[in-house]
Symmetry: C2
Amino acid sequence: MRYINFSDEPPAMSPDEFFMNEALKEARLALAEKEIPIGAVVVCKGQIIGRGHNLTERLTDVSAHAEMQALTAAANYMGGKYLKECTLYVTLEPCVMCAGAAYWFQLGKIVFGAYDVKLGFGRLNQKITHPKTIITGGIRENECAELVRNFFKSKR
Amino acid sequence: MRYINFSDEPPAMSPDEFFMNEALKEARLALAEKEIPIGAVVVCKGQIIGRGHNLTERLTDVSAHAEMQALTAAANYMGGKYLKECTLYVTLEPCVMCAGAAYWFQLGKIVFGAYDVKLGFGRLNQKITHPKTIITGGIRENECAELVRNFFKSKR
Protein backbone atom coordinates (compact mmCIF):
# COMPACT_ATOMS: atom_id res chain seq x y z
CA MET A 1 0.00 0.00 0.00
CA ARG A 2 2.79 2.37 -0.87
CA TYR A 3 0.71 4.96 -2.63
CA ILE A 4 -2.05 5.65 -0.09
CA ASN A 5 -2.23 9.37 0.36
CA PHE A 6 -2.96 10.80 3.78
CA SER A 7 -2.34 14.42 2.89
CA ASP A 8 -3.85 16.90 0.46
CA GLU A 9 -0.90 16.44 -1.87
CA PRO A 10 -1.45 14.58 -5.10
CA PRO A 11 -0.60 10.90 -4.73
CA ALA A 12 3.02 10.00 -5.42
CA MET A 13 3.75 8.29 -8.70
CA SER A 14 5.56 4.98 -8.87
CA PRO A 15 8.84 5.16 -10.84
CA ASP A 16 7.16 3.26 -13.70
CA GLU A 17 4.32 5.79 -13.79
CA PHE A 18 6.77 8.68 -13.61
CA PHE A 19 8.82 7.51 -16.59
CA MET A 20 5.73 6.50 -18.55
CA ASN A 21 4.60 10.07 -18.05
CA GLU A 22 7.84 11.16 -19.73
CA ALA A 23 7.12 8.78 -22.61
CA LEU A 24 3.62 10.32 -22.80
CA LYS A 25 5.22 13.76 -23.13
CA GLU A 26 7.14 12.44 -26.13
CA ALA A 27 3.92 10.99 -27.57
CA ARG A 28 2.29 14.43 -27.28
CA LEU A 29 5.24 15.96 -29.15
CA ALA A 30 4.56 13.46 -31.95
CA LEU A 31 0.88 14.47 -31.90
CA ALA A 32 1.80 18.15 -32.21
CA GLU A 33 3.80 17.20 -35.33
CA LYS A 34 0.80 15.27 -36.73
CA GLU A 35 2.56 11.95 -36.17
CA ILE A 36 0.89 8.88 -34.67
CA PRO A 37 1.28 9.77 -30.96
CA ILE A 38 3.71 7.21 -29.61
CA GLY A 39 6.60 8.16 -27.35
CA ALA A 40 9.48 6.45 -25.58
CA VAL A 41 12.27 7.08 -23.11
CA VAL A 42 15.20 4.89 -22.06
CA VAL A 43 16.15 5.01 -18.39
CA CYS A 44 19.39 3.89 -16.76
CA LYS A 45 19.81 4.03 -12.98
CA GLY A 46 16.96 6.48 -12.60
CA GLN A 47 18.18 8.82 -15.34
CA ILE A 48 16.66 9.33 -18.79
CA ILE A 49 19.45 8.70 -21.32
CA GLY A 50 17.39 8.56 -24.52
CA ARG A 51 14.09 10.03 -25.73
CA GLY A 52 12.17 9.61 -28.92
CA HIS A 53 8.83 9.84 -30.61
CA ASN A 54 7.34 8.52 -33.77
CA LEU A 55 8.82 10.30 -36.82
CA THR A 56 7.48 8.15 -39.66
CA GLU A 57 5.84 11.10 -41.45
CA ARG A 58 8.61 13.65 -41.00
CA LEU A 59 11.32 11.23 -42.09
CA THR A 60 9.07 9.43 -44.63
CA ASP A 61 10.39 6.30 -43.00
CA VAL A 62 7.92 3.71 -41.77
CA SER A 63 10.62 2.27 -39.52
CA ALA A 64 11.26 5.53 -37.64
CA HIS A 65 9.43 4.36 -34.52
CA ALA A 66 9.72 6.05 -31.12
CA GLU A 67 11.56 3.05 -29.70
CA MET A 68 14.21 3.03 -32.43
CA GLN A 69 14.94 6.73 -31.79
CA ALA A 70 15.11 6.30 -28.01
CA LEU A 71 17.23 3.11 -28.13
CA THR A 72 19.81 4.48 -30.56
CA ALA A 73 19.96 7.76 -28.60
CA ALA A 74 20.55 5.81 -25.39
CA ALA A 75 23.25 3.60 -26.93
CA ASN A 76 24.87 6.71 -28.33
CA TYR A 77 24.84 8.34 -24.87
CA MET A 78 26.27 5.20 -23.26
CA GLY A 79 28.98 4.98 -25.91
CA GLY A 80 28.67 1.22 -25.72
CA LYS A 81 26.76 -1.46 -27.53
CA TYR A 82 24.37 -2.83 -24.99
CA LEU A 83 21.65 -1.50 -22.73
CA LYS A 84 21.61 -4.33 -20.20
CA GLU A 85 20.97 -2.03 -17.21
CA CYS A 86 18.37 0.04 -19.02
CA THR A 87 14.58 0.16 -19.21
CA LEU A 88 12.64 1.23 -22.29
CA TYR A 89 9.37 2.99 -21.43
CA VAL A 90 7.06 3.22 -24.43
CA THR A 91 3.43 4.28 -24.62
CA LEU A 92 2.40 1.44 -26.98
CA GLU A 93 3.42 -2.22 -26.94
CA PRO A 94 6.44 -2.47 -29.29
CA CYS A 95 6.07 -4.06 -32.71
CA VAL A 96 8.13 -7.04 -33.86
CA MET A 97 10.79 -4.78 -35.41
CA CYS A 98 11.30 -2.79 -32.19
CA ALA A 99 11.25 -5.89 -29.99
CA GLY A 100 13.82 -7.37 -32.39
CA ALA A 101 15.96 -4.25 -31.94
CA ALA A 102 15.62 -4.60 -28.16
CA TYR A 103 17.08 -8.10 -28.56
CA TRP A 104 20.24 -6.71 -30.17
CA PHE A 105 20.60 -4.04 -27.48
CA GLN A 106 20.19 -6.77 -24.82
CA LEU A 107 17.78 -4.42 -23.11
CA GLY A 108 17.22 -5.02 -19.39
CA LYS A 109 13.51 -4.23 -19.27
CA ILE A 110 10.61 -3.10 -21.44
CA VAL A 111 7.69 -1.27 -19.81
CA PHE A 112 4.85 -0.38 -22.14
CA GLY A 113 1.56 1.46 -21.72
CA ALA A 114 -1.24 0.31 -24.04
CA TYR A 115 -1.42 -3.19 -25.47
CA ASP A 116 -1.33 -3.53 -29.27
CA VAL A 117 -3.24 -6.75 -29.83
CA LYS A 118 -2.82 -6.66 -33.62
CA LEU A 119 0.80 -5.60 -34.12
CA GLY A 120 2.45 -5.88 -30.71
CA PHE A 121 5.24 -8.43 -30.32
CA GLY A 122 3.23 -10.16 -27.61
CA ARG A 123 1.07 -11.74 -30.32
CA LEU A 124 3.96 -14.09 -31.15
CA ASN A 125 4.07 -17.40 -29.32
CA GLN A 126 7.89 -17.42 -29.29
CA LYS A 127 10.11 -15.07 -27.31
CA ILE A 128 11.93 -12.64 -29.61
CA THR A 129 13.39 -10.31 -26.99
CA HIS A 130 16.63 -11.18 -25.21
CA PRO A 131 16.25 -14.06 -22.70
CA LYS A 132 17.10 -11.65 -19.87
CA THR A 133 14.70 -8.86 -20.87
CA ILE A 134 11.86 -8.36 -18.37
CA ILE A 135 8.51 -7.26 -19.85
CA THR A 136 5.75 -5.25 -18.12
CA GLY A 137 2.64 -3.91 -19.84
CA GLY A 138 -0.36 -1.78 -18.93
CA ILE A 139 1.33 1.17 -17.14
CA ARG A 140 -0.89 4.26 -17.58
CA GLU A 141 -2.65 2.13 -20.16
CA ASN A 142 -5.76 4.27 -20.61
CA GLU A 143 -3.94 7.54 -21.24
CA CYS A 144 -1.55 5.84 -23.66
CA ALA A 145 -4.35 4.07 -25.55
CA GLU A 146 -6.60 7.12 -25.64
CA LEU A 147 -3.94 9.27 -27.33
CA VAL A 148 -3.66 6.82 -30.24
CA ARG A 149 -7.40 6.12 -30.35
CA ASN A 150 -8.29 9.84 -30.55
CA PHE A 151 -5.64 10.38 -33.22
CA PHE A 152 -7.15 7.79 -35.53
CA LYS A 153 -10.69 8.97 -34.71
CA SER A 154 -9.75 12.50 -35.80
CA LYS A 155 -8.38 11.09 -39.08
CA ARG A 156 -11.70 9.55 -40.11
CA MET B 1 16.54 -23.69 -69.84
CA ARG B 2 17.48 -20.04 -70.04
CA TYR B 3 21.01 -20.37 -68.78
CA ILE B 4 22.43 -23.18 -70.95
CA ASN B 5 25.68 -21.93 -72.36
CA PHE B 6 26.61 -22.85 -75.93
CA SER B 7 29.65 -20.60 -76.17
CA ASP B 8 32.97 -20.31 -74.36
CA GLU B 9 31.65 -17.31 -72.46
CA PRO B 10 31.05 -17.71 -68.76
CA PRO B 11 27.44 -18.73 -68.06
CA ALA B 12 25.02 -15.84 -67.69
CA MET B 13 23.83 -15.03 -64.22
CA SER B 14 20.16 -15.12 -63.27
CA PRO B 15 18.83 -11.75 -62.09
CA ASP B 16 18.76 -13.07 -58.52
CA GLU B 17 22.40 -14.11 -58.75
CA PHE B 18 23.34 -10.78 -60.32
CA PHE B 19 21.77 -8.71 -57.56
CA MET B 20 23.05 -11.04 -54.84
CA ASN B 21 26.48 -10.39 -56.30
CA GLU B 22 25.84 -6.68 -55.69
CA ALA B 23 24.85 -7.46 -52.10
CA LEU B 24 28.08 -9.47 -51.80
CA LYS B 25 30.04 -6.40 -52.94
CA GLU B 26 28.43 -4.49 -50.08
CA ALA B 27 29.32 -7.32 -47.67
CA ARG B 28 32.96 -7.05 -48.78
CA LEU B 29 32.88 -3.30 -48.10
CA ALA B 30 31.76 -4.15 -44.57
CA LEU B 31 34.62 -6.64 -44.27
CA ALA B 32 37.13 -4.00 -45.38
CA GLU B 33 35.81 -1.83 -42.54
CA LYS B 34 36.20 -4.71 -40.04
CA GLU B 35 32.42 -5.08 -39.78
CA ILE B 36 30.60 -8.42 -39.85
CA PRO B 37 30.43 -8.90 -43.66
CA ILE B 38 26.75 -8.64 -44.49
CA GLY B 39 25.49 -6.61 -47.43
CA ALA B 40 22.17 -5.70 -49.00
CA VAL B 41 20.67 -3.95 -52.00
CA VAL B 42 17.08 -3.00 -52.77
CA VAL B 43 15.96 -3.41 -56.38
CA CYS B 44 12.95 -1.87 -58.10
CA LYS B 45 12.13 -2.73 -61.72
CA GLY B 46 15.66 -3.94 -62.39
CA GLN B 47 17.35 -0.93 -60.83
CA ILE B 48 19.25 -0.76 -57.54
CA ILE B 49 17.64 2.02 -55.49
CA GLY B 50 19.25 1.36 -52.12
CA ARG B 51 22.50 -0.18 -50.88
CA GLY B 52 23.83 -0.88 -47.44
CA HIS B 53 26.20 -2.91 -45.35
CA ASN B 54 26.54 -3.69 -41.73
CA LEU B 55 27.69 -0.63 -39.76
CA THR B 56 27.23 -1.80 -36.18
CA GLU B 57 30.85 -1.09 -35.21
CA ARG B 58 31.28 2.24 -36.98
CA LEU B 59 27.99 3.61 -35.64
CA THR B 60 28.29 1.77 -32.29
CA ASP B 61 24.71 0.78 -32.99
CA VAL B 62 23.78 -2.89 -32.82
CA SER B 63 20.69 -2.16 -34.91
CA ALA B 64 22.62 -0.68 -37.88
CA HIS B 65 22.13 -3.78 -40.02
CA ALA B 66 22.73 -3.86 -43.79
CA GLU B 67 19.00 -4.31 -44.45
CA MET B 68 18.01 -1.26 -42.40
CA GLN B 69 20.46 0.91 -44.33
CA ALA B 70 19.33 -0.42 -47.71
CA LEU B 71 15.59 -0.22 -46.93
CA THR B 72 15.70 3.33 -45.60
CA ALA B 73 17.92 4.40 -48.53
CA ALA B 74 15.41 2.86 -50.97
CA ALA B 75 12.40 4.46 -49.29
CA ASN B 76 14.25 7.76 -49.31
CA TYR B 77 14.95 7.39 -53.05
CA MET B 78 11.33 6.48 -53.75
CA GLY B 79 10.11 9.45 -51.71
CA GLY B 80 7.21 7.31 -50.60
CA LYS B 81 6.45 5.09 -47.69
CA TYR B 82 6.21 1.62 -49.14
CA LEU B 83 8.40 -0.68 -51.17
CA LYS B 84 5.68 -2.93 -52.57
CA GLU B 85 7.36 -3.33 -55.98
CA CYS B 86 10.82 -3.83 -54.53
CA THR B 87 13.07 -6.76 -53.71
CA LEU B 88 15.58 -6.79 -50.88
CA TYR B 89 18.69 -8.84 -51.65
CA VAL B 90 20.71 -9.60 -48.54
CA THR B 91 23.64 -11.96 -48.05
CA LEU B 92 22.36 -13.38 -44.75
CA GLU B 93 18.83 -14.34 -43.75
CA PRO B 94 17.35 -11.25 -42.04
CA CYS B 95 16.91 -11.19 -38.28
CA VAL B 96 13.55 -10.59 -36.59
CA MET B 97 14.15 -6.83 -36.41
CA CYS B 98 14.89 -6.52 -40.13
CA ALA B 99 12.02 -8.80 -41.14
CA GLY B 100 9.82 -6.66 -38.89
CA ALA B 101 11.06 -3.55 -40.72
CA ALA B 102 10.27 -5.25 -44.06
CA TYR B 103 6.70 -5.64 -42.77
CA TRP B 104 6.35 -1.88 -42.32
CA PHE B 105 7.81 -1.19 -45.76
CA GLN B 106 5.34 -3.73 -47.24
CA LEU B 107 8.29 -5.12 -49.17
CA GLY B 108 7.45 -7.09 -52.31
CA LYS B 109 10.13 -9.75 -51.99
CA ILE B 110 13.07 -10.81 -49.84
CA VAL B 111 15.90 -12.82 -51.42
CA PHE B 112 18.64 -13.90 -49.05
CA GLY B 113 21.89 -15.82 -49.47
CA ALA B 114 22.96 -17.85 -46.44
CA TYR B 115 20.50 -19.22 -43.90
CA ASP B 116 20.86 -18.06 -40.29
CA VAL B 117 19.46 -20.97 -38.35
CA LYS B 118 19.97 -19.32 -34.95
CA LEU B 119 18.88 -15.72 -35.50
CA GLY B 120 17.09 -15.66 -38.86
CA PHE B 121 13.41 -14.76 -38.88
CA GLY B 122 12.65 -18.16 -40.43
CA ARG B 123 13.07 -19.76 -37.00
CA LEU B 124 9.71 -18.29 -35.97
CA ASN B 125 6.65 -20.41 -36.60
CA GLN B 126 4.48 -17.36 -37.32
CA LYS B 127 4.77 -15.10 -40.33
CA ILE B 128 6.12 -11.67 -39.34
CA THR B 129 6.69 -10.23 -42.81
CA HIS B 130 3.85 -8.62 -44.75
CA PRO B 131 1.28 -11.17 -46.03
CA LYS B 132 2.25 -10.25 -49.61
CA THR B 133 6.04 -10.50 -49.18
CA ILE B 134 7.58 -13.39 -51.15
CA ILE B 135 10.62 -15.07 -49.55
CA THR B 136 13.47 -16.89 -51.31
CA GLY B 137 16.61 -18.19 -49.60
CA GLY B 138 19.86 -19.86 -50.62
CA ILE B 139 20.96 -17.65 -53.55
CA ARG B 140 24.79 -17.80 -53.78
CA GLU B 141 24.52 -19.39 -50.36
CA ASN B 142 28.08 -20.73 -50.11
CA GLU B 143 29.81 -17.44 -50.93
CA CYS B 144 27.52 -15.54 -48.57
CA ALA B 145 28.01 -18.03 -45.73
CA GLU B 146 31.75 -18.34 -46.24
CA LEU B 147 32.30 -14.58 -45.88
CA VAL B 148 30.69 -14.55 -42.43
CA ARG B 149 32.26 -17.89 -41.41
CA ASN B 150 35.79 -16.73 -42.30
CA PHE B 151 35.20 -13.44 -40.50
CA PHE B 152 34.40 -15.16 -37.22
CA LYS B 153 37.19 -17.72 -37.73
CA SER B 154 39.70 -14.87 -38.06
CA LYS B 155 38.40 -13.34 -34.82
CA ARG B 156 39.23 -16.43 -32.76
